[in-house]
Subunit: 359 residues, 4 copies
């Protein structure tokens, strides 16, 4: 029987989302003869009346859409449907979304999201009796039970490229260069890019730092070893007073250049070396997906459709030991994956002599 | 006690070799205070008298050498030391290499190589009582017991980038574009890049193809779906008469543009569409390592030195489920890893509707 | 009065064509309120009945089309409308094209093309009383009266990048690496990329070479200076017997890997160094336009529309001394621009010690 | 007679400096048999005792140094030798530099610098009777009498690439994205990258803006045309109160994220669209030179040495109409090249419908 499935992208965008949409569409149409409806702006498209959806077809993707960053469906930060902003107030509008889904006569929903949106989607689908499959995407790589999520390695590539570009200018001017990268509460991008880009110091939220240790390392590096230093700091690293500068603004807006700016001032003063910082920002999100993210996105998309064909729901697709597998959605949602201080990469960083701020 | 270790790069070069050298050097010097000697041109440096080695130091790497392709030690195809070309003859010169090693007073040897050179190095070290650790590198990804080897994903990036560039010109001219990629007897680069780059047809040596099926697919694609098609073919794919065109030359030299050229002529004739081909060649080897290969190289290098510190030898470092581990060298050498026709990526390719030539 | 203008892309595709379409469309609509019709597959779209055109609008370009290689209008090699292939015969179908143009009620035609298509379009427009403006594009940079044409510098970037990737693998294996680049009868890509990519030898059709001089240089380089060499050869360079290998095939098809392949065999034999070659092929055409080509494309497109508004026709836009200007179309068409052996770049190449084969 | 020449890099680093050093070295050694001495850290290397210089040889460059950003000689911001910081004081130390030059027995000096350092070097050489040739480099492109300077187009590439990456994420989230780029007091990078990267608004210091016009344009774009907007702002653009935020800090340190940050807050408030900003920073300087900058650097380097051979001094090499020429140094130093509001590129920007803030 011909099924109709919906698909949406939720939360912050990243590289590889269009590749997931393509894989789902190709598999559903070519493999099963189903119809695929792309829901606009996360679940918000199901709130609108008429519902805001577009049928995804083979020709949607023939001009090479897979290669582009972002998502043609749009995404939204407008907020949790269970507590949706209405004027200055908040309201539970989840019923309308469920209604929208059923108005379309959809058999199942595929949600591409990070851990936040995945939890909300799970709750929504449980409430609305919606057959749901989750596909993990996040540049932060903080979703548990999967080795990797769509968008992460591309973000690492971009941050690494920035370090490659900062090194020659640091060396030409005897400078300490600080790169602030994204990653929310996790240090995965900072750790990976720091190793790949030849950083001397990497600060991540999972490993508390001691400023004297950082300063000592930078002095040693710039005085004995070479005339410059590179330092990567994850956006969620706290300042010396324990404040998270990305959320320090009173109005709830994220401050820009929080910890990178802070560190640059402190390092310049304490190390006595000319110090500059760069906040990489949204270029980590919007760029073209690298080969790995496209392969991952393609594998996830195909497998998600196959799960629907088998009637397996409430699952999240995951990457494990060179294979796509599926895991329980509830388990995945409740497993947060920070950087493990005993992981191979932390040991690699220490083994290279990179200072992580704690010793 | 201060150890002295040797390191060499062997076989075809790939991206990430200098990153391994750096990681080994940093770990050995900073972690243990050892000395590291780089042996030039594979094991050949130990054949020369005086032996051709260079001490690797921290400052060898401070200008950013990790980011460059190739290997500063050079490598060699001059051949198997057990059957070394001497004039028109061949001779067992393995004793001289072992002698060279011991003349240097080295405590251990790290060999970075593919499956061919790893097997030879293993035999050499066994014979010469040399403490050996292997680090897997190959753009072909055909070494068993490790999820990935240094250099592979960068080669996939380059091949994918080529497809990204071929698509617009194919679409502008209503053409079938064929990309011949490396990979020796394995189809890993072709399969990965084909999925990532949006190929319509991927031919790999592990899956025999039927030309009528290929032609049928290309006709369908170019007539019904879009005005062009992309096809990837691994260099070791046989022609319709079962010949391997990379080794068809009588003098033992590899012919250039073997199967890609062959396919272009056949497809143009049988499909009736203008067909062009590109043989990517050595740009897949010499480019800068991507972030993933640098991380892998760094992790392998650090871990290899730690194995020496622990006195564990005859091991190959490997990547398994997000960690570096070590496996028995003999097992690794005897485990060839072709593309598994039941693997996730083959299923992904089929799920996307990519024709693999067999159905 | 609201005008209606047509635009077409003709001849081999290159990077930057979509950027020209965008600039013309933006200028015509936003600046003058005109309508723009994109004609498909070169002038062929005017041959079809109904004529094959698409209205170009602002929204055609909002998703970032400017950044993509190729042309959304397609182009064609189907041939000269004055001698159009009909079965095995040829026929003058120019009247039909002129008719198609007037059926659309167009006020003017903008043709983006190289010197070949520009000459044909000029003849066509003269015959059909069509108001014509030409915009020069070609990766070959062989159009006279303009300092640069759309697509050239991007092709140089790609060829340079290939040399950057070939160098490390050449150095790792003591090899001579030969890169064959496009350029038709001109050596501009070879000369520019050879300088930018650090070649030791550059052969271009404008400067006849002596093989002994080439061999002498390569021996000197690989024996005295470094262990490898890089050589760039333009596709139209003749072999030692004076044959042009790109057109050697009897059936009129271009042979692949002509002079690059030829040179690799000769050099390997005569220099005695391991030699490999790469034929860059269509990746030089289909890639994303670099910043310079997008700026050039944008300036040309805007200016071309302004010329139509002023009622100036039979002009080609051109770049001269930091400005867009317009030149007489007939003059441009008859001015072929090969590499001038006395130009700055030839002197630069000689000044760097690059061998151009003649001394 | 064998000459000895000195060369130094001065002022802020940019892409292409090592390519100039290479061209000078190759030309001087291969063409004339001279010796070349690289002076470290701008003119500072001549202040040190012993003077801090390194002989540059062919082999300095054989591993591909031309391709790397930065300068192996280092550069310095330590300041004007006529007013050199000594403790908290300033002192004229120009005599010591002149002395250093003559201690080395150098016949001539090549200085690679921007307009600031070129003026100082000119004064220094006049005073010290030093034969001087200047080579223009600057990412700001503000040096007069030359069409382009080394480093500029690479910086434009990087800024354009950032816009390419910001667009998809802007489109996915319905955002206004603001990119702050370098350029000192000139808007060249902003104007070029804004055109190439598809900006809707470009603000440059040469064209005063009216905030209402900017806001009107962004409202129009985001409401009628597409769901997002891109805006580029040059670092020297003043805020609405006429303050230059790059120099607003009381201690003389440049504030980070000045006008970009300011604009983001104003736009978000006045346009009512979610707005994010990125300050590109030093990645514009340190990256690899593109092909054009390497060609320019090579041509300038060769020509500068030829000028010395001819005994022509107090000249600056320049690019004019496809050729290297030389101009009077004093004239060049006194010709500042801001963006000309009547230039082709300004007209191109206006022609595309880009808002420059003034109408």
């Amino acid at each position: 029987m011909t099924k109709k499935i919906g698909i949406l992208t939720s939360g912050g965008d990243c590289a590889g989302l269009n590749a997931v949409l393509r894989a789902v569409t190709f598999r559903a149409i070519r493999g099963y003869g189903w119809k695929v409806y792309g829901i606009h702006q996360g679940s918000h498209g199901l709130l609108e009346r008429p519902v805001h959806v577009t049928e995804l077809k083979i020709e949607t993707f023939t001009a090479g859409l897979m290669r582009f960053g972002g998502t043609i469906l749009g995404t939204t930060n407008r907020g949790n449907p269970f507590s949706y902003p209405v004027g200055d107030d908040r309201q539970d509008r989840s019923d309308e979304i469920v209604e929208g889904f059923h108005m379309l006569g959809l058999d199942a929903l595929i949600g591409i999201g990070g851990d936040g949106s995945m939890a909300i989607l799970r709750r929504l689908c449980e409430k609305g009796n919606i057959n749901f499959i989750g596909i993990p995407k996040t540049i932060d790589n903080d979703i548990g039970l999967t080795e990797k999520s769509v968008g992460f390695m591309t973000a690492v590539d971009i941050a690494t490229e920035a370090l490659d570009r900062l090194q020659p200018t640091a060396a030409s001017h005897d400078r300490v260069m600080i790169l602030e990268v994204m990653g929310r509460d996790a240090g995965h991008i900072a750790l990976n890019a720091g190793i790949a880009g030849g950083a001397d110091v990497i600060l991540i939220p999972e490993i508390p730092y001691n400023m004297d240790i950082v300063v000592h390392k930078l002095k040693e590096v710039t005085k004995r070893e070479k005339n410059f230093a590179l330092m990567v700091v994850a956006e969620a690293v706290l300042d010396e007073n324990g404040r998270n500068l990305t959320i320090a603004d009173v109005k709830g807006k994220r401050r820009y250049g929080g910890i990178g700016h802070y560190m640059a001032e402190r390092i310049q003063e304490m190390v006595g070396a000319e110090t500059r910082f760069t906040v990489l920002g949204h270029v980590q999100r919007g760029c073209q997906p690298n080969a790995e993210d496209r392969i991952l996105a393609s594998s996830f998309g195909v497998y998600a459709v196959d799960l629907i064909a088998e009637g397996k729901f409430n699952r999240m697709v995951a990457w494990h030991n060179r294979q796509v597998v599926d895991v329980d959605l509830a388990d995945a949602v409740s497993s947060y994956q920070a950087v493990d201080p005993n992981s191979t990469l932390v040991q690699t960083a220490r083994g290279l002599g990179i200072c992580l701020g704690d010793k």
